[in-house]
């Protein structure tokens, strides 16, 4: 299968890329291409111009900054995160999700930021970013702006990025205490879209939940921010009844459609099970440390 014909540009600086996006009609940014290229081959996407950012240097980083925030550059591949030596210590939720994104070959090419920009309701990283309260830094002709991911995604496959803006970086705010969490995903086989998946992030201090976030994958028309469920956890010591309540609220926040992967009820059940299981796993790990 061939995509429609397009013109190709491969700039070597962000400024040059933004200038191209400003001057070209119907241009799309190409990063890892693991969603965009299949969509172009199926002719779901037919951009007239592609601006390939892979030749722009110094965008492949992921790092913890001294203020406690965590930054992921636009060309950081899923595999970079999966193999990272620092990710687990700083962002346990992302470390849990990294090996579950797509399959190992796609992970060598696809990017974290690109995945969030693709805004697929089945995307794993957007749920993680919602749970962590993360943002996307967009750079355009007049400079940079920071957009929380919950506002960044405006609908399925749609973001608030302007035509001449590039998502240059993802930023995750510092932890309030010790950050923990996890990601669980049910898929029929590696690389399939998730039947359902849940991202839970917990910032703990002396056994008390200081901050919490829950993002849900594949159980609605877009990534779901289960904020009521997360709020139910804040201030608690993760007592059984609190966790049970949060798991119920998370399931209630979904609007899944029954399909060949499972009925709507089944998917809701998975979500409540996953939310309580992630929290149980976190508690078990803490007990082992203590």
């Amino acid at each position: 299968m061939y995509p429609s014909r397009f013109r190709y540009e491969a700039p070597t600086s962000i400024e040059e890329a933004i200038a191209l996006l400003s001057s070209l009609e119907d241009a799309k940014v190409l990063a890892g291409g693991q969603s965009l290229i299949p969509m172009m081959k199926l002719r779901f996407a037919n951009p007239a111009n592609l601006v390939d950012i892979n030749n722009i240097p110094d965008l492949g980083y992921h790092r913890a900054d001294s203020d406690g925030s965590f930054r992921i550059g636009a060309l950081c591949r899923h595999a970079d995160l999966e193999k990272s030596k620092i990710l687990g210590e700083h962002q346990p939720l992302l470390a849990a999700a990294a090996p579950l994104v797509a399959d190992p070959i796609v992970r060598t090419r696809g990017t974290f930021v690109g995945s969030v920009c693709h805004a697929d309701p089945q995307g794993d990283w957007a749920s993680c970013m919602v749970a962590l309260g993360g943002s996307i830094v967009a750079q355009g002709p007049s400079g940079k702006r920071t957009i929380p991911v919950k506002d960044f995604v405006s609908g399925p496959f749609t973001t608030v990025l302007a035509h001449n803006e590039i998502a240059v970086e993802a930023v995750i705010p510092p932890a309030q205490g010790t950050r923990t969490g996890g990601y669980l995903k049910l898929e029929r086989r590696v690389g399939d879209f998730a039947t359902a998946a849940a991202a839970v992030s917990l910032d703990m201090s002396d056994g008390v939940v200081k901050d919490a976030g829950i993002g849900l994958t594949g159980v609605g028309a877009q990534t779901i921010n289960a904020s009521e469920a997360a709020e139910a956890l804040i201030g608690s010591r993760l007592e059984d009844d609190v966790v049970e309540r949060a798991a119920e609220l998370a399931a209630a926040a979904t609007s899944p459609r029954g399909d060949h992967r499972g009925s709507a009820d089944y998917k809701r059940h998975i979500i409540s099970t996953f939310v309580s299981r992630i929290i149980a796993n976190v508690q078990r790990a803490e007990m082992q440390v203590a």
Binding site: D52, I105, V190
Partner: protein, 174 residues
């Protein structure tokens, strides 16, 4: 130099953007004049006539078209050929030397790691990327590394054995 776009569109050639790519493939430098929308898998097969790289699903699922791009496994149906400009590509043809099979190829032969053979080139390149990074993988690690490559014949058992066999051989233990 291979010129793929001329074969595709001789009549409207003037209006079409083409670009020259220089790729080091299996240690050999090659150049081609191509359209940007040409996929790496098609340049390898139709341009360079290296037909060991198979296109299976053409939808980023099956992994039959897996090649190494600067040592990392990629699905060559999901990379534009123009993106490989200035980079190094390894296909299954780059595994064996003139007289000798690569240990991974020997492993697939000895352990019956294939039936129809369609997925085998992709499997072997994913296996190579794994063994380059981890010379002593566990069975689980092999299964994990190959989980992006689909095989509809074998049930994977012998493929996993073949990779473990190759790993042992490459460590000098077999």
């Amino acid at each position: 130099m291979t010129s793929l776009f001329e074969e595709l569109q001789p009549t409207i050639a003037d209006e079409i953007q083409t670009t020259r790519v220089d790729i080091r493939i299996n240690g050999e430098s090659k150049a081609a004049q191509i359209e940007p929308r040409l996929l790496l898998a098609h340049l390898i097969r139709n341009g360079f006539r290296l037909t060991g790289t198979h296109t299976g699903c053409d939808t980023t699922n099956c992994g039959a078209c897996t090649v190494l791009l600067d040592g990392a496994p990629v699905k060559s149906c999901t990379v534009f050929a123009v993106q490989a400009d200035g980079h190094e590509v390894t296909t299954v043809e780059g595994l064996a030397t003139a007289s000798e099979l690569h240990p991974i190829q020997e492993g697939f032969k000895d352990e019956h790691g294939l039936q129809c053979g369609f997925c085998t080139p992709g499997m072997m390149l994913s296996a190579k990327a794994l063994l380059d990074e981890n010379p002593n993988p566990t069975e689980d690690e092999v299964r994990w590394a190959l989980s992006g490559n689909l095989c509809r014949c074998t049930g994977y058992q012998n493929i996993v054995k073949a990779v473990l066999w190759a790993a042992a051989k490459m460590r000098g233990e077999a």
